[in-house]
């Protein structure tokens, strides 16, 4: 019974993040600096999943990103796959019980995702431009803040222990 309730809350948590991404984000923020709730969902999944499943989840989320920004199809899938796998694998290194460590984890994921995405889409020169230096940094900060707030209020839903 508890397991079913836990699974229900977990699914509800991910639905909440999808709703935040597609409904709340466009109403409130400039898209370039807005928190990426889909990447946040991927990270919350990766923290508790096996690396293989996290890579698969990253591939699915990335494919969705490619479909919605078809400038360079496949670049999103590649970047999210790598980030998902590394996040699940890296749990062993970054002990994720601390709220600030989790925030850094989310920010690092955004930077790494954007770095791989720009390189895979043949935009290496953009790494020196505002797309990466300014907007990616702002997005990493806002995503980390949003992730921290979500962990503070919904950590039981995602079954994540935070000290």
């Amino acid at each position: 019974m508890n397991l079913r309730r836990g699974a229900g809350r977990l699914i509800l948590g991910f639905v909440l993040l999808v709703a935040l991404h597609f409904y709340a984000r466009p109403r409130l923020w400039d898209s370039r600096a807005a928190p990426d709730f889909l990447l946040l969902a991927l990270m919350l999944f990766a923290i508790r999943a096996r690396p293989g499943m996290a890579a698969l989840a990253g591939f699915v989320v990335g494919l969705g990103a490619d479909v919605l920004t078809p400038a360079h199809f496949g670049a999103g899938a590649l970047s999210h796959t790598v980030v998902g796998y590394l996040a699940a694998w890296g749990r062993a290194v970054f002990f994720p019980h601390n709220l600030m460590v989790n925030a850094g984890f989310f920010a690092g994921a955004v930077i790494l995702r954007n770095l791989i995405l720009l390189l895979a889409s043949g935009s290496g020169s953009a790494l020196l431009g505002p797309d990466f230096l300014v907007w990616s940094t702002l997005q990493a900060i806002t995503t980390a803040v949003a992730g921290t707030v979500i962990l503070m209020f919904f950590r039981n839903w995602f079954a994540i222990r935070v000290a």
Partner: protein
Amino acid sequence: MARPRPSGSWLAPGRGGGIGGPATRSDTLLFVVCLVLSVGAIAMPDELSGALAERLRNTALAPMLWLQQRAVEGRTSRARFAAMQAERDSVAFAAQTLAEVSAENERLRALLGLRARAGAATIPAEVLHQTVPTDGRTLILSAGRAAGVPPDVPVIAPEGLVGLVVSAGRLTSVAMTWAHPDFRVSASTETGEVLGIVAPSPTVEASSAFLEFRGVAFRDTVVAGTLVVTSGLGGVYPRGIPIGRVAGVRKEELGWERVYRLAPLVNPGRLMHVLILTEKRAGLAPQAFR
């Protein structure tokens, strides 16, 4: 009754934030399969990937896009209400003399034996921005074939040219903006004296993205601040849509060509609302843009 998950589960050992074990062989295999599929998607021909993306947009992602469209419409209507009201008052004032001028124009065209001037047919659309850094190069627009959007038609904003519709799905369409590396448009100065090709700059400046006005004959000089508009050549973009203002000379090619740096008038990353031009024949007056 809570029971521990079997080792073959998707959950890592020590769920709830504990330290998991190293990746198993099956994890590595799944990761490699996903990587291969991603690389395959990158190498996929544009036609195939475009068709796949359109199918997914119209099926699996349709509810999400519908949700985002409602959100953008809500934000647009809230943010633009005051500006729209002010513009409506100005237009209403200008329209008081429009009927008289229009009738006079028709009489004069009839006297000269000219056919009636075709109007510019447009379809409004909301821009559905995403959070990845390549978002400004292609934009998802909230109008598709169902709203009458054909492929290969220009997309404009109140400030000037945004880009071109590259594919039109049933409910949404994809626009390639001037920031896309493949974007090209035949252009001229506002007076039409100097012709060239506008393309995105391959180098990235520290402060902002720029366009290039290429292929300008060495004998022609364009002063800084000159407005560059679409020339109407090529049959895709009508004449007169503002693209940008000349910001200086970028390079000179061996005494036969000058390349000018162009500051674009439209920022695709901040657009909320665009117009899709479905009538290509009609020329547009640059003064119509602000």
